[in-house]
Amino acid sequence: MKKVMMGNHAVSWGVKLARTEVIAAYPITPQTQVVEALSEMCSSGELAARFIKVESEHSAMAACIGASATGARAFTATSSQGLALMHEVLHWAGGGRLPIVMANVNRALAPAWNVWTDQNDSLSQRDTGWIQLYCESNQEVLDTTIQAFKLAEAVDLPVMVVLDAFYLSHTSEPVDIPDQEAVDAFLPRRVARVKMDVNDPRSFGALATPAVYMEMRLRQQEAMELARVTYDEIVEEWGGMFGRRNGAIESYHAEGAEILLVTSGTITSTSRHVVNELRARGEKVGLVKVKMFRPFPTEALRVALAGVPHVAVLDRNISPGHGGIFAEEIRSALYDLAPERRPRVHGYIVGLGGRDVTPAVIEDCLARTRAAAGAGNTPEREDLWVGVKS
């Protein structure tokens, strides 16, 4: 069944179809509609989940941790300051290997107060041990929310489904809602490998001395590495059932490209429009979309980008004192390529705090890349800020 819906409600539908058992949440713009719709589904009985109202985002994640530890399928949603407040317990979910799913609507961090989109909120949680998946359309949001539970439970790691504030969260567009029976076949009830059970007592969150701590971290890292392979399998299975495949990365008109854009989130969609227009004029431009940020799809990106002369990375985020976060990760991933196969990586900072990233902004990034390439210049050491007022 197809229905016109907002990105926020695409999350709610995904959570409903996944037969989530516990939802704990605290409202924050621009996420609130996600849990608002879920609370209505719980009160009407459409969704047989326990909805726990809490006093903060820190408590929301703590409640999800408790629920997940007992073997329940648990979900929360947040944005920006709310995610920042969760920081400590995000590590508990990641290190505790709890397959919680969270939707984060990308919103810029204060100060100054801003409710509009950028990726600094989720990217500043990079090292908490959460898988991160960035979405491009409301359809991808719904599909990814369901897939996220399957991935989380397969590798015992929490998954963050990330969507742009307003450009997805509040934008209405047609979304194909899968049948419940098909989703049930794809995502059976959770069977926890380890859980809190009064009949099988275990210790959770105990002290780990230097004699064992490091091995726990290694297991976590191995689970992240496994998640790359597992996600590819999940995408393939989903594609076979529903005909839609949105993998960890996607190449678009990359064949013979002299410049490849690298994008994430909704900038990808607008960039497809730009690439279509430029290709129609005979320009050798394409794009690579990065959906999975953790685990980083290092090998897949090496394959997709090797041999391309120039790569232009569009970052809707900034690591102050360094640069665009995707650009830095991509430079690092490509460093070991043979010099003649290694692309020049041009980094651009765009769209912070919800500033509009229009086709003109994307074309500006491409023009700068083309000019640097034409002059034989190495890319700027500092990422360039595009679309800022002089």
Binding site: K2, V4, V115, W116, D164, A165, F166, Y167, L168, H170, T171, S172, E173, P174, T266, I267, S269, T270, R272, H273, N276, G354, D356, V357, T358, P359
Partner: protein, 204 residues
């Protein structure tokens, strides 16, 4: 692709209007995208909503800055904000107003102005209060008739799907507003052909 901007005041239903229109166009198998102006809305303050419609998948995910058409839910907005900002020359402006299009000479110069008393129609169908009639469904009926973009039947079906209460009254208001604009003389700007061919749509 055709792009539309809807101006209203917080509480008048501009955002809901954009969603109903999106649902109506979706019923006609068009690609569609609608969204509110990304801001911090308050009741009574000027708000805007946007819609894109196309026969091919819509890839743009940025704001609408040069709309083809406007819908204005509150005529006082014409002096309060620059409603025509970015509007393409010859674009259509559909205004909820008791006045004739000619009484907006600054707009009829450059644009194709159509008025409909959606407030009065809403009141007759018991939608909202005298000080704050709910005009969004009525004006969509008028839009269906004068834009040729979508059928009145699709608008009415979308209203039934999207509006939580008083669906019958909202549908009746949409139909009455469609009749009202069909009956009125449509003012064309002198020497300026409309950007759009007016598609004749058969209404049940």
């Amino acid at each position: 692709m055709r792009e539309l901007r809807i101006h209203g005041r917080g509480g008048q239903g501009a955002v809901v209007a954009s969603k109903i229109l999106a649902a109506a166009l979706f019923r006609e198998s068009r690609s569609v995208q609608s969204f509110p102006a990304f801001g911090v809305e308050r009741r009574g303050a000027p708000v805007a909503a946007f819609l894109r419609v196309s026969d091919t998948p819509i890839l743009l995910r940025c704001e609408v800055t040069a709309p083809d058409d406007l819908i204005v839910l509150d005529p006082t907005l014409i002096v309060a904000v620059d409603v025509t900002q970015g509007l393409k020359p010859g674009g259509m402006i559909l205004i909820n107003s008791e006045r004739a299009p000619e009484t907006y000479p600054k707009l009829t110069d450059r644009f194709h102005v159509i008025t409909v008393d959606a407030g009065g129609i809403a009141m007759r169908h018991g939608l909202g209060s005298r000080t704050q009639p709910i005009v969004n469904t009525a004006i969509l009926g008028a839009f269906a008739r004068c834009s040729g973009l979508v059928s009145l039947d699709s608008i009415c079906a979308a209203i039934q799907e999207e509006v939580p209460g008083r669906a019958a009254q909202n549908v009746a208001a949409a139909r009455e507003a469609a009749e009202a604009v069909a009956a009125s003389e449509v003012a064309q700007p002198a020497g300026l052909a409309s950007r759009y061919s007016r598609v004749e749509v058969k209404h049940a």
